[in-house]
Amino acid sequence: MEALLIEHGRVVDPVTGLDREMDVLLREGRVAAVAAPGKLAGAARRTIQAEGLIVAPGFIDMHVHLREPGQSHKETIVTGTAAAAAGGFTSVCAMPNTTPVNDSVEITRWMRARERGATVNLFPIAAATVASQGKELTDFAALKEAGVVAVSDDGKPILDDKLMHDALRRAAKLKIPVVQHAEDSRLTAGCSMNAGAASFRLGLHGMPNTAEANVVERDIALSRDTEGHLHVAHISTREALDAVRRAKKSGLRVTAEVTPHHFTLVDENIGEFDTNYKMNPPLRSAADRDALIQGIVDGTIDAIATDHAPHAFHEKQVEFERASFGITGLETALPIAITVLHHHFGLPLGRIVELLSSNPATIFNLEGRGTLAEGAHADVTIFDANRKWTFDVTQSRSKSRNTPFNGWIFTGRVVATIVAGEVVYEEG
C-alpha cells in the first residue's frame, strides 16, 4: 500500500483539539504524521490537494440498514457501503433487522467477510434478543468477540422491563452499549406519522411523543440500576431529550443520536401524503425539531446518525398507511448538517465533526477511529464546507431512491473519502 499525503487542508480533529492548516501523511493503513504545511513534502508520491477543504477523521454512521442478508432488493452491502463512501462515511454500523435477523456469530461473520464487498468499515450491531423476538437474550460475549459493537432490537423495542434490565447488565460487563429504538408500540399500533395538527388534517393515526419518552425514561431508570450504557437511537421528542439531559447531569452512562431529518424536517412537510417523509420515529412538531437543535448545541445529543433505511419503489409508492417506514440518508447527512447546523445555526464545524466521528467512535468503543492522531486508522473524510450543489437522487449510489431531499440545494459537500489509506470515493 502506497503512502498518501493530504496537503494544505484545514485539519479538524476534536480529539487532539487541532483546527488549523496541516498536512496529513497516511501510510500502511495508519496516520503516520500530521505536520505543518510543507514539512512532509515528498514523503509520498500520491498526494491530495486539500486547500480550502476540511480534513476530518472519517465519519462513522452509528445507525444504518444495509439489508443484507435477505433483503437485497432494497440494498446490498456493496451498494450501501458505496453510498456511505459517497457520503463521507468511512465506517457504518449495521442494524440487525435483516432476514434472518443478525442474532448470531455466523451472520455477523458473513456480513464482515471480505466477499461481501464492503468498501468502508462495517461494524454489525447484533440483535439483543434471539430473532429480535424480545424473549431470550443473545450471546453478547460471543457476538462481541465476532466483531459486534453494540446490541439492539431496533424497530422491535425491548418493552419487557426485566429483559431490558438483563440486557443492560450483561452489556455493561462487556462494555458495549444497548441501543434502543424507544417506542412503546402499545401506543403506536396503526399509526403512520406523528400525532398532531398535521395527522388530524391528513386523517392519519398519530404516534404521541409519550410513546418515545416513556420508554426512554424507563430505560434511563434501568441504566441507573444496572450501570449499563444506554444509547438512545434517533431521538425525536423534546420530552425524551429532557430525560436524556437529566440523566447526563446525574452522571449516568446515557448517550443519544439524532438523524439529519429529525433536526431538519417536521410532520407538516409530509404535505399531501408523500411517503418519502414517512419514517419511524416520525417527523415531529416544530417545537420538537427546535428542541433537537438545542440538544445538539448544548451537548445533550452526542451523535448524528442517518438511520439509512432503503426501500424499493413498490414498498414506498403505495397508500401512506401501507408504505414502509424509513428513508435513505447516507449521502445527505453531511450536506444537511453543514447547511442546517453550521450555516443556518452557526454550529462550529469542529462540533459537527465530533457528532459525526469522534463521539460515535467513543460510544461504540472503536479504538483508533474518530481521530487523526498519529497511529490512528487512516480513515479520513475531506469536505468542502462552502460548496453549493443540488442533490440529485438519480445519481445516488444506494439501490433505493426513498429520500425527501431530492432536489435540495445544499452548502457543503464531501470531496473525498479515505478508508485505511485508500481513496474509496472522490467527487466527480
Binding site: 395538527a197 388530524f200 397508500e319 401512506f320
Partner: protein, 302 residues
C-alpha cells in the same frame, strides 16, 4: 379560473371553483340533463363498501350520458395483490375518462393522481376527505341560507374519524363561516381546531348549539367508542341531538346528517324527521352536485 382536473380535497379548491360547481349543480336536473358526457367512461373504483355515494355517482354519470363500471375491491385483482398504481394504470389503459374512487386509506386518491393522467374524483379516503359530500352540503346550506359567510355551523359527533367533518371545515372556512367541532375530547381533539381558520373545538354541546345556523350531526359508531372513556349511554346523554337541544339553535337553523343515520344514537327520530331536518334534501342534492363535479373535471361544463 383554473380548470379542475381532479377533485381530491376541498382544501385545494378556490372559492371561485366551489361557486362554479354550486352554480352548475343548481342547473342540473337528473331527469332532463343535457348529455354532456355522452360516450365518456366513468369507472367507480370502490375499495370500501358504499351504497349512497356509489349510487349517487352512478346516477349522476348516467344522467349525463356517460357509461359507468363498478370495480369493487372484493371482485377485482386488488385481492390478488395488485398495487393501487397498477390498478389505476390498468383502468386508465382500458379507457376510463374519470376514476371515482373510494378507499379506506387516507390519501389513496392523491397517490393515484400522481401516477395516472386520468381525472380522479375522491369519493371518500379513510378519515381524510369526502369533498363531494362537503359540496352537496354547501349546496344544501345555500338553498336555505343564501350565503355561507358568517354562518355558525356546528359539527357534532365523531369528528376524529370523519372525512365529512374535515371536508366541510375546509370548504366552509374558505367562505368565512364559523365552524364549531363538538363532541367528547377523544373524538374532538384540540388540534382539530387547527385544520382551518375559523374552526374551534368544543366539548359542551349546549354552548356550541347556541345561535347555530346549521347543525351537522355525524354518525357515532359504537365500536369507535369502544376502549374510550365514554360509553354510548354517556355519549347520548351529553351529545345526542334532540328536540330540546335543537331549541338552543336559531329558530331557522337546519339540521343535516351525511348518513347513514343511527337513530337513537347521535340524534333522535323526532329531530331526524322534524321540520328542521334537510337530510333527504342532502341526498337529492348529492346527485346534482356529482353531475356538476363530473362535468367540471371532464371540462364539459362550459
Amino acid at each position: 379560473m383554473k380548470p379542475l382536473h381532479s377533485l381530491l380535497g376541498t382544501d385545494q379548491l378556490t372559492t371561485a371553483q366551489i361557486e362554479s360547481i354550486l352554480a352548475l349543480a343548481r342547473h342540473m336536473d337528473p331527469r332532463r340533463a343535457k348529455q354532456l358526457l355522452r360516450g365518456k367512461r366513468v369507472v367507480l373504483l370502490f375499495y370500501e363498501p358504499s351504497t349512497r355515494t356509489r349510487t349517487s355517482f352512478e346516477f349522476a354519470a348516467q344522467a349525463l350520458g356517460a357509461t359507468t363500471t363498478l370495480i369493487a375491491a372484493s371482485s377485482s385483482s386488488v385481492e390478488k395483490g395488485e398495487s393501487l398504481i397498477d390498478t389505476g394504470r390498468t383502468v386508465t389503459a382500458l379507457g376510463a375518462d374519470v376514476i371515482v374512487m373510494r378507499h379506506p386509506n387516507s390519501g389513496a386518491p392523491y397517490l393515484l393522481s400522481r401516477y395516472v393522467p386520468t381525472s380522479i374524483v375522491n369519493a371518500g379516503d379513510g378519515m381524510h376527505q369526502h369533498p363531494s359530500q362537503a359540496l352537496l352540503d354547501a349546496l344544501t346550506i345555500t338553498n336555505h341560507k343564501k350565503k355561507l359567510t358568517g354562518l355558525r355551523v356546528v359539527i357534532v359527533g365523531d369528528v376524529f374519524h370523519s372525512r365529512v367533518a374535515r371536508s366541510n371545515a375546509h370548504l366552509l372556512s374558505k367562505f368565512g363561516a364559523e365552524i364549531i367541532f363538538c363532541g367528547p375530547p377523544d373524538l374532538v381533539p384540540d388540534v382539530a381546531a387547527l385544520i382551518a381558520p375559523g374552526v374551534t373545538a368544543c366539548h359542551d354541546l349546549n354552548a356550541a348549539l347556541r345561535d347555530a345556523d346549521v347543525v351537522m350531526s355525524l354518525r357515532v359508531q359504537k365500536e369507535r367508542l369502544a376502549g374510550r372513556e365514554l360509553g354510548l349511554e354517556e355519549y347520548v346523554e351529553k351529545y345526542q341531538i334532540n328536540c330540546e337541544r335543537m331549541k338552543l339553535a336559531r329558530p331557522d337553523a337546519i339540521l343535516m346528517h351525511p348518513g347513514p343515520i343511527i337513530r337513537g344514537s347521535e340524534l333522535t327520530s323526532e329531530v331526524a324527521d322534524g321540520p328542521q331536518s334537510v337530510v333527504c334534501e342532502q341526498v337529492a342534492n348529492g346527485v346534482k352536485i356529482r353531475m356538476a363535479i363530473l362535468a367540471t373535471v371532464m371540462g364539459a361544463s362550459r
